[in-house]
Amino acid sequence: MTLEGALLLGLMLFSLGLYAVLARRNLIGILIGIELMLNAANINFLAFNYFIPTDPAVAQIIVLVVIGLAAAEAAIALAIILKLYRQRNSVDVDAMQLLRSTGAEASNE
């Protein structure tokens, strides 16, 4: 177990999360990706904390707060996703095309 190893684990999780955010069509799938990215950052914090400590409480507090924030974020996001689902019967990200630029010929009106 080394610092680099832990960081690499974080990086892998982050990349997997990023992949999910980009590849997933399901909005909840994207949210999952985001949670993975957040956790990757958390691993980083604790890894730094563990291997090169200067102020070990800080990183733990950060991770705790981030977990809290993630919960709040997930709550709001899921509420919005649910609302969206209720209106369109779909949580497909590709279906969100109402707000977009059209060319010169068409109007938003």
Binding site: V21, L31, M37, I52, A59, I61, V65, L98, N108
Partner: protein, 468 residues
Amino acid sequence: MSHPELFCPEFALLLGALLSFACAAIGTKARTAWLVSLAAAIITVGTSALALPYQGHPFATDIYAVDSFSQVLKLGISLALAFAIAISQRQDSTRASARTEVHFFFYLSALGMMMLVSATELLTLYIALELSAYGLYILAALHRRERLGSEAAAKYILFGAAASAISLYGISLIYGAAQTTYIPAIAASGGSPLLIAGVVLTLAGVLYKLAAFPVHSWAPDTYQGAPHEASTFLATASKVAAVGLLLRVLSMAGGNTEHLRTMLIVVAILSMSVGNLSALFQKDFKRLLGFSAVAHAGYLLLGLLSFSKLGAAAAIFYVLTYVPIVVCAFLVVAAVSHNGANPSIASLAGLYKRSPFLGLVLLVAMFGLAGIPPTPGLAGKWFLFSAVIDAGHLWLVLVAAVNATISLYYYLLVVKAAYLDPPGEYPDIKLSPTYSITAFVSVALVVFMGFYPAPIWSMASSAAAVLF
């Protein structure tokens, strides 16, 4: 908490939040809730103004700084809040069911922004960033046309969460590089490459707030899909907070700015260009303003990438003057909007006849955004460009100025619609007293700042002096 009075603008916001929460809880009428909020907002503005000269640390040392930098930006935020709430008088783009509650989110989001510009510690900074964002995510979802609102909010929150996750990852790298979360200490740690990498990734969330390339794409969609007052708030307060945040984040680089500057130059150019070019063909007025906001993020970055006092002051000046100008534009949006629908540019036709004053307000807004005197847009650009040339990037100014020319095209198209096209079947517009007063105040502010930019400049300059 050692000096509670230092925290007074935030207290005013908390009070406002509390009052609006109380209104929501006891289920008052939307109008009462609005009046209460407006009063609280005005109190906030007053408090912020009073708090301008305050300096100190209300919390544990180095977590939260109250200085002229934070206080000037807080004044900008509180002004934006007050304007947005004044505009929300005519809530017809907001969901009927949420009209009593919306102000609660405004206040908490504004609170987040105020904390954002004062925070000097990464955790505080991050949580403030999230607080300010969550309120906006919720506000964006409340458009009366629910499909629009939900889509806008979904895009906003998912993109925002992803960006903030990248930021958090960056913050973790910063922590790893500096082994501390106090920004002054980080800045003093010497700017190792890892730190720079961390700062770059942190920029994701910061630029997101500023709506700069490459994390700009939410802006037009969300501006379009959010209720008018939410868009107003988003376009003004968020920009002010973002400038403060960006200055703090960039200060962490601690003098090792070479790579950051290169990247910011690219980001600035692309923001301006993408924003301005994309705006050329927009038909929806709010969407156009969204792209314009992207372009203006580019201009603001010009000041920030200079890494100088002049540049920082110019950016702060620009964003402070930007607030009333954009308020003017959104005021027109809200006033013209019928049944909460988004006004298209075509629907501005004949505004000079339907409401001459509103026509003037629009003219001032467009000239202000385009940087035409007697609005402060010109002075703002001038100062920004001065900073950039001072930093040695003459050609960058050329690019920016060409961009300003391009932008003039679509601003003039708006003016054209309002002043040239016949009103057709569009009805006359009667402004409510609140709107008239708001419009008058914002236009007066704009013109005053345009003719006499000195006071704003000295504020901005003293704010920048804190950092450099």
